[in-house]
Symmetry: C2
Subunit: 94 residues, 2 copies
DNA sequence: ACTAGAATATTGGTTATCCAATAAAGCCTA
DNA sequence: TAGGCTTTATTGGATAACCAATATTCTAGT
């Protein structure tokens, strides 16, 4: 994995498969700003190269889908981040 | 702020003021590996320069303390990260 | 006083992360 | 079939984040 962006991508794709633009918009909604193409596509390329995400072309659109390996990687990353940052975020919820 | 490490430092210092080594050990407990001096001290220096953290020397020890500005910055960062990543971590808690 | 160890700190360099600009390819409407 | 629009993608470069190695300063035990 690359970092927090890749982490978020894996999570979003675990909810449902998406087109790149859908992903970018959802990320934008969470982070407050839509990521640039030069940010999101290299991240997707990286995730695809490491077999955590698979691609399927439909005309000009590309569907990104979480692989089985991506799912287990996501689960591990979630545990890691929950241990490291879980209580920090919870502490801000009130 | 620099990144996730600075975020964690601010949070830990919001619990109580600490020496650098205490910080490093607590971070190590959370992240699984104690950060190198070349990681943590530049981060502390940066936080100090931006007045989010204050320092107080006691012999060879240095106490790092969260400033008022650091507290408000932390609160904002917590809201941001909670919005961006909150449900991702919560989803892994079960 | 000397020395061993601990805490703090800096330096130099590597990799990760991300953006701005640009390009290409497919779709739609006229 | 020409034009513009959308989506996907690449390139080049800037900055952030971090580590390994080294240096400095203070403390404590002898």
């Amino acid at each position: 994995m690359r970092g927090m962006l890749s982490f978020m991508i894996l999570f979003l794709l675990s909810k449902r498969s998406m087109y790149g633009q859908e992903l970018a918009e959802e990320i934008g909604r969470r982070k407050g700003e839509k990521p640039n193409p030069g940010t999101i596509y290299p991240a997707l390329k990286d995730l695809t190269a490491s077999r955590l995400v698979s691609v399927e072309s439909h005309g000009r659109m590309t569907v990104y889908r979480l692989t089985k390996s991506g799912r287990t990687t996501l689960a591990k990353a979630q545990k890691y981040f929950a241990r490291a940052y879980g209580d920090i975020l919870v502490a801000s919820k009130k």
